[in-house]
Symmetry: C2
Subunit: 332 residues, 2 copies
């Protein structure tokens, strides 16, 4: 294993220390293990808290800031944050208007956020949970009951975050988050496995000419393995899978996220975006908003995911609203 680390056991704490040094606008509690806006809590504002295993950066800590999350709880690499940690983050940003937990659908995350929500309720904080399960590759997986939460997490955090920033009520913020998740579908390919610092070797073996079709963001198996094919064929298969699971109609407006999983060059990501644009145009679908880059990653995995979301006017308005976070920023 070759990584820019010290002791593998210290990676998350030391990365958080670096995040704190790089972003004075964030309050990073290395002991309690959460990242919050330095200005939190904001009285009267619904707060958004997300989290999950580390190794998916900039998700989630890189999405803390005005217009998006109020706090994020990073677990160890590919490991759920613990309930006390989530509770500490929830209390740190609660402004009295309730807190939305945005939870990717993995068994550990779901359980620990649920426990944290109950502990928060005991302390008088109302929590609504938005579950993200956009990955249409598999119905259940090694890490999941039901579909996995992947690229759409960014969309949920951005759009719900914008609504919360405007002063919407708890139920409204949670509702738009659920609406975005329901409108989104994702599908990923892996060319290589990733290597966690603790394991020190790739999470799975993949022959030199094969890819994992429908891979998860921890390297979980997808639908099958197959020989590598040209990008235009892979994109066509992925879009078929997306539209089979969540059909769209000609004229629908979409947001397309082409998301690098870690080691895939931006050159390839843009090439893939061009292929997606071609295929969607053939289907009469309009790409109204788009994003290309590494946003929901899987350490050093060579791979990428494609997310297509059907947009409403309101979602477009909220997507376009200002956001200022380390990982996503515009308008401010």
């Amino acid at each position: 294993m070759k990584k820019f680390i010290n002791d593998p056991a210290d990676v998350v704490a030391e990365a958080l220390a670096g995040l704190a040094a790089a972003h004075p606008e964030l309050r990073v509690d290395v002991t309690e293990r959460y990242v919050a806006r330095a200005s939190a809590p904001r009285p009267g504002k619904v707060a958004l808290v997300s989290g999950g295993g580390s190794g998916h950066e900039p998700l989630h800590g890189g999405f803390v800031g005005p217009g998006m999350l109020d706090a994020a709880c990073p677990g160890e690499v590919f490991t759920s944050p613990v309930p006390d940690q989530i509770l500490a983050a929830t209390k740190a940003v609660d402004g009295g208007a309730g807190v939305v937990h945005i939870v990717k659908n993995y068994t550990g995350d779901v359980m620990n956020f649920q426990l944290a929500a109950e502990l928060a309720a005991d302390e008088g904080i109302t929590v609504e949970t938005v579950l993200v399960d956009d990955d249409v590759a598999v119905e259940n997986s090694t890490w999941t009951a039901g579909r996995r939460g992947t690229g759409a997490t960014l969309l949920v955090e951005k759009i719900a975050g914008a609504l919360a920033e405007e002063g919407a009520k708890l139920g409204e913020v949670a509702a738009v988050g659920r609406e975005v998740n329901a409108a989104s579908a994702s599908f990923a390919y892996a060319l290589t496995a990733c290597t966690t610092p603790a394991a020190g070797r790739p999470g799975f073996d993949l022959p030199d000419d094969e890819i994992e079709v429908g891979v998860g963001i921890h390297g979980e198996p997808g639908r099958r393995r197959e020989k590598l094919r040209p990008a235009r064929e892979l994109v066509r298969s992925a879009v078929d899978a997306l539209l089979d699971a969540k059909p769209l109609n000609p004229g629908d407006r979409t947001l397309v996220l082409v998301n690098g999983l870690g080691a895939t060059p931006l050159l390839e990501q843009y090439l893939v975006f061009g292929e997606v644009a071609t295929v969607l145009a053939e289907r009469g679908l309009e790409i109204s908003r788009r994003l290309v880059g590494n946003y929901v990653t899987s350490l050093d995995m060579a791979g990428l995911s494609i997310t297509v979301a059907r947009l409403t006017d309101e979602m477009i308005r909220l997507w376009d609203a200002p956001v200022r976070t380390p990982g996503l920023r515009w308008g401010v």
Copy 2:
């Protein structure tokens, strides 16, 4: 080789098509091979044109937009753009106030930008060239007479771009660009080689426990190979190299860029930033501005570079000015 591409010969053209589809605010001329602001030229504004081999994205096409470049010329992967291409871009964005060419110091780039500047002069366009040669690892290299241009290119493009946006004159814009380059030093480590689409295999062999110390952004050799060491030791050695080449004094304000070369997770990049902050604090140096992420890349190379620049008040003001490009955006 496993990549998300079609025919290796078409990678750059197809990636440009994708860039065009993703960024309607850019005008991408796939035939002439340049990326310009859709609104260019702006009469009376000094235009900034950069370029170089593809494979370093978001550099340079991803830095085209208000507050930064007016146009970029991507060559084939790791290959200089040709003079006619640079001339076409220069003419496309010339607003009558002259054009600044920002050129990384590689033999092919220097020669082709020089020829393009002469051709532009024949057509009545005054060109000033800013050469970037910030990489202090080696004095000369396989690709270069003199030091290589790497991470500081982003700083030059951002700061000179901001000054041009304000309406400064040609000589002033070029001067601040040269000042930023002179104030900057970079040093990189590679854990792995990168693979170009044309070659189909890694550009060099590196044993499982060794790193290339002072690597270039095309995988050119650095100072030596050595066994992998903990990140804190690598950072200390890199900072020593930076300050040996360009000494700083206690109290100096700096910008620190920790730049991923492609396959290095953001988790590791932040960890390294934290180490840089620790070492600079020991030396009495203040980090006034900072940036962490993949900005000047080398395809899928696992590695990173550290750039430290000494900042003046004017540089800080121009760094903070609004910028709106695919790869760097704030304030708008």
